[in-house]
Amino acid sequence: MENWSLFSLCVLLGLTSRWAVSFHSYSGAGKPPMFGDYEAQRHWQEVTYNLPVHEWYFNTTNNDLNYWGLDYPPLTAYHSLVCAYVAKLLNPEWVELHASRGYESHSHKLFMRATVLFTDILIYIPAVLLYCFYFCDGFSKQKVATALCILLYPGLILIDYGHFQYNSVSLGLALWGILGLGLGWDLFGSLAFTLALNYKQMELYHSLPFFCYLLGKCIKQGLIGRGFFQLAKISLTVLVTFALCWMPFLSDPKQPLQVLHRLFPFGRGLFEDKVANTWCSLNVLIKIKTLLSRETQLFLSFALTLLFILPSSLKLLSKPNLWQFKLALVNSSLAFFLFSFQVHEKSILLAAFMLPLLVKDGLLLPYVVTSLAFLFLSLYLLSALERSTEEELRLGIYRKLTRHWLPKLNLSRIIKWKFWFSLVAMAALSFTSVWLEPPAKFPDLFPVLVSILSFLHFLGFIIYFNLVQLMEPQRKKSQKKTN
């Protein structure tokens, strides 16, 4: 069968599963007074449509920041504004200032879900297709298999079409950035990534690798001459993009400060809820949240994050090629997730480990189905192929997956056993979280167990990927194709 038909089948399967998941509940459905992320997004449409720009991030009589105040960078706000215009055309009640708080209806849900689908089709899916087409080794069937697995990745589907968010926009833009860098279009890549950064500040997790890769590349080209010009062009692109995105906020110095204050809420503490990172897990043994002062916490998290990022970034700086770049992306994002301040579990986008969140949202069924389907599909499609370490890792790098069997000689059996054990543990935890009652002494037992299990996995990953990046010799295949 021809390539175009196979790729379109993948896209259609991905789209169908996305829309089918969207039939289910969303976060905060029917739960006044605060509702959930869905209401937050609707509220942002209301705020951006009805209020002038300089009031969006400020606490005013018309804009109560305690009720889902804007806490994403300006591009999200502009996106909400565009959606609000469409909403106003369809039904003005949806974005009525104040009156539309907690508005819930079937047609509104359809509208909101449609906006997610629209941006997904526009930004994320083409990026995935191009990525698989250009940067996957192997025959076309393997590329299609990879594309299918990426498109059916449960985490993104469940969060975007279930819980309700727009991660596909920022991830898609970041992927376009990676594509740009991979194809040698540095300026385009920088532009795309800067846009991603201006959409969700979470993309900072990926920013250091981008920076080191581009800097390293320029240095390699010679800091006097071509390299310098390249660096200048890239810096200019980034600065101009930032300026354009933040333009409405640059008139008054108080504005950007307030925006930054909303984006980085250092006042909120080391962590909230149950997150699979170091601090939350450590808190089970030592109550660091109460033991250390706010400043010490900040310093500690900053120091550890830096510690874990530095080796990988320096390596990338010295050897700026695509392979190192991708590994650095994983390492950097894992490091940030594990050690930084105020991390939310959505930052990791891994389905299995967001179980408590999804159960709360009433998304148990799609969670089970998509996770099983994805697991089965990846195992079936990708283990049948005699893949080299490089293939598997490349996939794992971008999507931070839990599969990690490698044909690494005597370690492979251990790894395989460990993989099945992890799966069983996850299945058992899922089952118990849903069907059993926790003991009265430890009401949060199951979410905490899930977080700790996940944390241990991530710790293992970050060590593994750092080792790979720092010590693995360059693969010949990747040298030929991607450099």
Binding site: L12, F139, Y380
Partner: protein
């Protein structure tokens, strides 16, 4: 070594496809379901709570039992499992009861009952001639499996609209497969008898001649099974001859009034286009009675039966005759439901992977009839699903059959391609443009009528082509390809 395609052991792809489609069906559990859902819940309730003698007399709900006794026993069996999900669904007065547990149970029962269908498909694949060494995606058995397991019509009708056709078609296909495997033993008489069975029992496929032993209830059962009191056409006209007949009648009456050949006061009121199932009269052309339709149906299939009797053509001839009988009863039957077209498409899939001409006819018929099923899912929420799934199936069947028969030119001639492409503007007009116009209120039935008539043209064309191919094919019993 890197392999070209996911080729593990011989049969694992079958289970992968079966599991994949089951996952998709699970995701659709929360989709729209029609009144057929309540119909089946009612039958669960009445078979569970009432003695057998009362089953066909019970009329608390408007949805009285109108399937043959075998199906009633099936519902009886299911009701014993239903107790574990939600006892309330088995209470007859609980009309329109649809708790989440009820929905889950009913949907799961359809998904599990499809196992029969899976088994039947597996058996049918054994009847195909296998080409060793072909790449997996080009294997006839693989293509047939996808065409049957992922059939758009079955997915839409069974797992969204809600019915148990998969289970029933499984029995049909199983009997076909057995026929193909032991054809030498079956006399031609039995073959003709089977064909006649299809005409008389449009709604059920029962090779085992269901037990009509219910004491003295035969007349009641028959009256429920063959509701001749209902009108010529279902509320939405099935795309058969009578749709064309109706539109011709309408056209003549309008022209007649315009050219003053007819008196508008003497014409009967236009009631058939009101969307309700009533008995009605035609204005210009002679009215059609149930007897007339029966006669037409028998006349339409007699030549085929005669040809088969005279010159049995092995398994392929039998299948072709079967398809023609099914299509004939669809084309000329009384109160035909558009879902009945599936009875023709599924066996035709078997022929399609075997010969070029049949592949062309299959493409025409399947795309047209699948499109004709669109009005079954009229909700906005299901709109993307039906479009995505339709595209999925169409692209797959086009691409795979094209690859299978790449030698020998195109499968569809330009006229057919134009006709099929015409479905796109038709869909755009009926679903997007028309609802926004002023005529939506005054002539709400117009899109349905358009769809019905347009598809009727395609179905009639396919019927004629199939007939021609049956009547003109040479005797190939000596070198029959299908074993």
């Amino acid at each position: 070594t890197v392999m070209a395609a996911p080729m593990t052991n011989d049969q694992s792809w079958f289970y992968a496809l079966a599991l994949g489609v089951s996952f998709l069906k699970c995701l659709l559990i929360n989709a729209y379901h029609s009144t057929d859902f309540e119909v089946h819940r009612n039958w669960l309730a009445l078979t569970h709570s009432l003695p057998v003698s009362q089953w066909y007399y019970e009329a608390t709900s408007e949805w009285t039992l109108d399937y043959p006794p075998l199906f009633a026993w099936f519902e009886y069996g299911l009701s014993h499992i239903a107790c574990f999900f939600d006892k309330e669904m088995l209470v007859v007065p609980n009309l329109n009861y649809a708790s989440p547990a009820t929905v889950l149970f009913q949907r799961l029962s359809v998904i599990v009952a499809d196992v029969v269908f899976f088994y039947a498909v597996k058996e049918c694949c054994k009847c195909l001639r296998e080409d060793k060494g072909k790449d997996l995606l080009g294997k006839p058995s693989f293509i047939l499996t996808v065409l049957l397991l992922w059939n758009f019509g079955l997915l839409i009708v069974d797992h969204i609209h809600f019915q148990y056709n998969g289970f029933l078609f499984g029995v049909l296909l199983l009997s076909i497969a057995r026929h193909c495997q032991v054809l030498a033993v079956i006399p031609v008489l039995f073959t003709s008898f089977n064909c006649i069975c299809f005409i008389l029992t449009q709604r059920f496929i029962d090779k085992s001649r269901s037990s009509l032993f219910i004491k003295g209830q035969l007349p009641q059962v028959l009256s429920r099974l063959f509701p001749f009191k209902r009108g010529l056409c279902h509320a939405y006209w099935a795309p058969n001859i009578w749709a064309l007949y109706n539109i011709a009648d309408k056209a003549f009456s309008i022209l007649g009034v315009k050219f003053r050949l007819l008196d508008i006061n003497k014409l009967p009121k236009a009631s058939m286009t009101g969307g309700l199932v009533q008995e009605f009269q035609h204005s210009v052309l002679p009215s059609v009675s149930p007897l007339a339709t029966l006669v037409c149906t028998l006349l339409s299939i007699l030549p085929a039966l005669f040809k088969i009797w005279h010159r049995p053509n092995g398994a392929r001839g039998f299948l072709r005759c079967l398809v023609i009988c099914a299509l004939g009863s669809f084309m000329f039957g009384w109160h035909v439901h558009e879902k009945a077209i599936l009875m023709a498409i599924l066996p035709l899939s078997l022929l399609a992977v075997d010969s070029r001409k049949d592949a062309g006819i299959f493409l025409m018929l399947s795309v047209t009839s699948h499109y004709s099923l669109f009005p079954l899912l009229f909700t906005t929420q299901e709109l993307p699903i039906k479009i995505f799934l339709m595209l999925l199936f169409t692209i797959f069947s086009l691409a795979s059959l094209k690859t299978l028969f790449r030698k020998g030119g195109a499968l569809l001639n330009p006229l057919e391609v134009t006709y099929l492409l015409g479905l796109i503007p038709l869909e755009l007009i009926c679903e997007f443009v028309y609802p926004l116009t002023v005529w939506q209120k005054t002539f709400p039935f117009l899109p349905l009528m358009l769809t019905s008539v347009y598809c009727a043209l395609g179905v009639t064309y396919a019927f004629i082509r199939l007939y021609i191919s049956l009547l003109t094919c040479s005797d190939t019993t000596k070198k029959t390809k299908m074993q």
